[in-house]
């Protein structure tokens, strides 16, 4: 696991962090984390450490991968994390898919969110 220079991993939700580490171990891959806990105002789940962004796997950025490879790998990363969250998963946005577990997203929203995440995986959890 590697983190960007402004990434606060210590404040990441314990369940989310544990799931991310175990996913990384399962995939035998180094996840590059571009954001963990970070106060960005508004209602961002990053504010209280309930979201994590992964923008690289084994040192390669998603936007440097072929689009289909980025989609496939992004989905795998997200699935490996979410499946270890015990039902706390909330937002799952990757280069290959975008959905929320706590509400239905319209097709337009889903497509736009997926498009916005062509370069990173975003997973967040509900409040404990």
């Amino acid at each position: 696991m590697s983190a960007g220079h402004e990434t606060d991993l210590a404040g990441v939700d314990r369940d989310l962090w544990s799931a991310t580490v175990r996913a990384s171990m399962e995939m035998r891959s180094d996840f590059g984390i571009s954001s963990g806990k970070s106060n960005r105002g508004g209602t961002s789940a990053h504010n209280d450490g309930r979201a994590i962004d992964i923008n690289r796997v084994d040192g390669t950025r998603f936007d440097d991968m072929d689009a289909s490879a980025a989609a496939s790998l992004g989905n795998r990363v997200a699935a490996e994390i979410v499946n270890r969250l015990g039902g706390r998963g909330m937002e799952v946005f990757t280069p290959g898919m975008a959905f929320r577990l706590d509400m239905h997203l319209s097709k337009t929203s889903s497509l736009n969110l997926q498009g916005s995440h062509y370069n990173h995986v975003h997973v967040s959890v509900r409040q404990p």
Binding site: D53, D63, G115
Partner: protein, 181 residues
């Protein structure tokens, strides 16, 4: 380093270029006082690098990079040309964000194309900005009411769309709401 249309560098004309000899002298004096010839050499390279490869020149270079933007999937625009011109901004972090946001509305055409038409210079700045930073707009607005954000633009963006993108990014940059890659 500024690269002209003829491919020649114009580093000598950069405002900082004339300072380079002075910086060498100052750096050498400092390094020699510390007694490290090796550190003096590596320091000289670093200072020269900083003096010559400025953000101004990197932005100017964007105008002349040839290549095509392709759209393999919705929301993603890949550049087929020399991507190092975009990647070069990454190490400048917040400083690059500020400069690139400022040039998002530049309407002149760049050498790069999309669908057989030249892209606006502002889009080149956007493509470089996307290498450095991203903004999770969905964390700050109701995605069902407003399922997009003006700060994200396609390579086919018009000058008006780029102006709106700049306005959107200025808010995000001033409040430091973005994340660095």
């Amino acid at each position: 380093m500024r690269v002209g249309v003829d491919g020649r560098t114009e580093a000598a004309r950069l405002p900082g270029a004339s300072l380079t000899p002075v910086l060498y002298v100052v750096l050498c004096a400092l390094a020699c006082r510390g007694g490290g010839a090796e550190s003096a050499q590596s320091g000289q390279v670093a200072v020269a690098d900083r003096a010559n490869v400025t953000l101004d020149s990197l932005i100017d270079r964007l105008r002349y990079v040839e290549g095509t933007f392709v759209n393999p999937v919705a929301g993603r625009w890949d550049f087929t040309g020399d991507r190092s011109a975009l990647v070069a901004f990454e190490r400048f972090g917040d400083t690059a964000v500020a400069r690139l946001v400022d040039c998002l509305d530049r309407p002149e055409f760049a050498a790069a194309t999309v669908r057989a038409r030249r892209v606006h210079m502002g889009y080149m700045c956007y493509a470089a900005l996307a290498r450095v930073a991203y903004y999770e707009w969905h964390q700050h607005q109701d995605v069902e009411k407003t399922p997009s954000w003006a700060g994200e633009v396609p390579a086919t963006a018009s000058a008006d769309e780029l102006r709106r993108a700049k306005a959107a990014w200025l808010i995000v940059a001033n409040k430091r709401l973005y994340f660095l890659h």
